[in-house]
Structures are given as structure tokens and as C-alpha cells.
């Protein structure tokens, strides 16, 4: 693997598109479906994940040489859970509306597989700057992914975008903002993104 030679920029954009956690790796599916009812909650969740993922990648990367391999996972989990606790307190203090909107899923960032996955796959092997770039890329990729889903669900399901009325009530597809609709929107989006990726891969093979 030529991972060592990768520039910071490449590491950062890797998470945005090539290894997008939402649409390519299918990590962190629970919040992907649960908080995409509105763009506001998706952005709130995204902000939380950006904070926790960047900080946890930094922390894990700093301690990576001192942690024995056998107990690394419990240690990563404690680091992540502590960061999530900090985030919970910050959000309740400064953005109580969003904290209420996210509910249990705010605490559940602690078990989001993206965060533990990046700690294990990247931050435990790379320096702090690279790890932060990776965390930021992945977290923004995740935020972009869930915001895209939330945009479709909110506009088509509730007729609003960030609370602004766009589509009149008669033309709303209300199933999309119910729980079931999340599966539908996500499934369709994944299939279309797969189609684009497969076409591109085919073209590369021919050329």
C-alpha cells in the first residue's frame, strides 16, 4: 500500500468521495436514517460527528505508541465516549433545540462505527496532522451524505427546506418523513450513486 506517500490533501478528499462513509462504506447507518428527517437535524448531527471524529482521531494518534495492542479497542472506546460526553454537555448548553431534536442519537455518536473505524484503521497508524485531516474528510463526507438524504426527505416529505415552505401541502409525500421513508430515499440514492460509480469504472476499463 502506498498509503505513506499520500498527501494531506489526498487523505482529506479520500473521505469526501472515494471512501465516503455514507454511500460507499455504509458506516454509521443508524444516524444516517434516524436524523435525516430534516436538514437541520442532519447538520446538527454532522457538526457533532465532525467534532468527535477530529478530536478522537487526534487523541488516538497521539497515544498510539503508548497503548498496548491488546487493550487498544477499550481505550479508544473510552476516549470516544468521553468526547461524546463533552459534546452532549456543550450541545445542551449552547444548542438545546438541536440536542432535543437528536435525542438519544446524540449519545449514540459514541457507538458510531465511523469513529471507531477511523481510530482503528487510520489514526492508530498515522501522525496527528494526517489523522485530523482524515477525520475531517470523513466527517464532512458523512455530513454531506446525510444532508443530501435529509434534503430529499424534507423537501419531498414535508415540503420545506430548513423550515421554509417550498412545496404546498397537497403535493407532499408524507411517508418520506416517517421512519419507513428513510429506507426508501436512502435505497434509491445508493442505487443511483452505484450506477454512476459503475459507469465510471466501466469507462476506465475500456480506456
Amino acid at each position: 500500500m502506498a498509503k505513506k506517500q499520500k498527501s494531506i490533501r489526498e487523505i482529506f478528499t479520500n473521505g469526501l468521495f472515494k471512501q465516503n462513509p455514507t454511500f460507499v462504506q455504509f458506516l454509521g447507518m443508524c444516524p444516517t436514517l434516524a436524523v435525516t428527517k430534516s436538514v437541520e437535524s442532519a447538520l446538527g448531527m454532522g457538526a457533532g460527528v465532525i467534532f468527535v471524529l477530529v478530536m478522537s482521531n487526534l487523541a488516538v494518534s497521539l497515544v498510539r505508541n503508548y497503548v498496548p495492542r491488546e487493550v487498544r479497542i477499550p481505550i479508544y472506546i473510552v476516549i470516544i465516549a468521553s468526547l461524546v460526553t463533552i459534546l452532549e454537555m456543550l450541545m445542551r448548553a449552547f444548542a438545546p433545540d438541536i440536542a432535543l431534536l437528536l435525542g438519544t442519537f446524540l449519545s449514540l455518536i459514541a457507538v458510531n462505527c465511523i469513529i471507531l473505524g477511523r481510530a482503528e484503521a487510520f489514526a492508530s497508524k498515522n501522525g496527528p496532522i494526517k489523522s485530523m485531516a482524515d477525520g475531517l474528510g470523513m466527517a464532512i463526507g458523512f455530513t454531506g451524505g446525510i444532508t443530501l438524504i435529509a434534503t430529499f426527505r424534507e423537501i419531498l416529505g414535508a415540503g420545506t427546506f430548513l423550515g421554509m415552505q417550498i412545496i404546498p401541502e397537497t403535493y407532499q409525500i408524507s411517508i418520506l418523513i416517517q421512519s419507513a421513508g428513510a429506507f426508501l430515499v436512502f435505497g434509491i440514492l445508493v442505487s443511483q450513486i452505484n450506477k454512476i460509480r459503475m459507469n465510471r469504472a466501466d469507462r476506465n476499463e475500456v480506456a
Binding site: C30, S107, L108, C113, A180, F183
Partner: protein, 199 residues
């Protein structure tokens, strides 16, 4: 009567996967074969029920009297992680076939949000699930956790049966795998909405 309503609500109405979106990674990952879905369901049932009971006891008798409930996320996650380790050792010792079937997904129960989600919902956010009751009894929590995990096992088993059947049919390339599974889950979730009026 109240307990029956809690159990029914937890299994069907507020189904953990289809309504609350807890535990989706194993739901989509392990559900390609009926046998592994069943063993995953059993492992999850065991872990969710017992870890909720432990979390409830810790929350009620340690965290709440000392006013340190903000630590619950960290404490619960440690309880769950050590508990999963225990289950893993147990299964490894007594059933190697089950152990190889569950493979990587057993340690992943730690990061299965259903486990932590139920632990938090029954303690910190109990008002949400028990109709405003902030001090549920241990019995209520146990029944709720059992119901949630049975709902999980039920749905993951049904889903794996559908997917097993579906694997025999041709599916367009870009719909294979996750997308078609999500559409299947959408149809199942619509069916489960039908339970909504009962409780």
C-alpha cells in the same frame, strides 16, 4: 396489562430496527443467511436484556443519587463492552460453530447502537418511552428490553429469510446488495406501521 402493552409496543409498534433505526449495521450485514441472523438475534437478545438491567441498576442506585447522570454514556458503554466480551468468551468456549458463524459481528455488538440505545432510553430518556414516567420499575425496564430485543430478532430473521429467497432472482447491478435490502426494509417498515394503531 400495562406490561403487556409495553412488551407489544416494544416488539411491534416501536420496532427497534424499522422505527427507531437502532442496530442497522448488523441488520444489513449479518442478514444474508437465516442461520447467522438467528444466532445474531439470540446474541443481541441476551446482551440487550442483561445490559439494560445492569445499566438500570447502576443508573438508579449510583448515578442518580450522586447526581452524576452526565457520566451515563461512558459508564454504560463500559458495562456493555465488558459484557459483550463475556458473551464472546462464553460462545467461543461452548459452540465453535456459532462462533465462526458470527465471526466479526460479535465484538461489533459493542458498537451496535441498539444495546447502548436501549440502555439510555430506559434510564436517561425513560420519559419518552414509558409515557412520561421518569421512574420506571425494574420490571418495566426488563420487559421493555426483552421486547425490543425480541423485535430485533424477529425482524432480522424475517429479513434474512426474504434476502435468502431474493438471492435467486436477477437484480439490476446497481441495485444489488445494500440498495435492494433498503427497499425491502422500506416495505417491511410500511407493514409495521400498521401495528401503530393497536397500542
Amino acid at each position: 396489562m400495562e406490561l403487556i402493552a409495553i412488551a407489544f409496543g416494544a416488539i411491534f409498534v416501536n420496532n427497534v430496527v424499522l422505527q427507531q433505526f437502532y442496530g442497522l449495521c448488523p441488520f444489513l450485514g449479518v442478514s444474508t443467511k437465516k442461520s447467522s441472523a438467528l444466532s445474531m438475534g439470540m446474541a443481541v437478545t441476551f446482551v440487550i436484556t442483561l445490559s439494560s438491567i445492569i445499566s438500570y441498576i447502576i443508573y438508579t442506585f449510583i448515578l442518580k443519587p450522586n447526581d452524576i447522570t452526565y457520566l451515563s454514556t461512558i459508564v454504560f458503554i463500559l458495562v456493555i463492552a465488558s459484557f459483550v466480551q463475556l458473551v464472546e468468551m462464553f460462545i467461543k468456549r461452548f459452540s465453535s460453530s456459532l462462533y465462526s458463524a458470527l465471526g466479526v459481528y460479535l465484538p461489533l455488538i459493542t458498537t451496535n447502537c441498539a444495546v447502548l440505545g436501549v440502555a439510555i432510553d430506559t434510564t436517561v430518556n425513560s420519559a419518552k418511552i414509558f409515557g412520561g414516567n421518569e421512574n420506571p420499575t425494574l420490571m418495566m425496564v426488563t420487559i421493555y428490553a426483552l421486547g425490543i430485543s425480541l423485535g430485533y430478532a424477529l425482524v432480522i430473521f424475517l429479513f434474512s429469510a426474504i434476502r435468502e429467497e431474493m438471492s435467486a432472482y436477477p437484480i439490476k447491478r446497481n441495485w444489488q446488495g445494500i440498495p435492494i435490502a433498503l427497499i425491502t426494509a422500506f416495505i417491511m417498515a410500511m407493514i409495521f406501521i400498521g401495528f401503530g394503531g393497536i397500542v
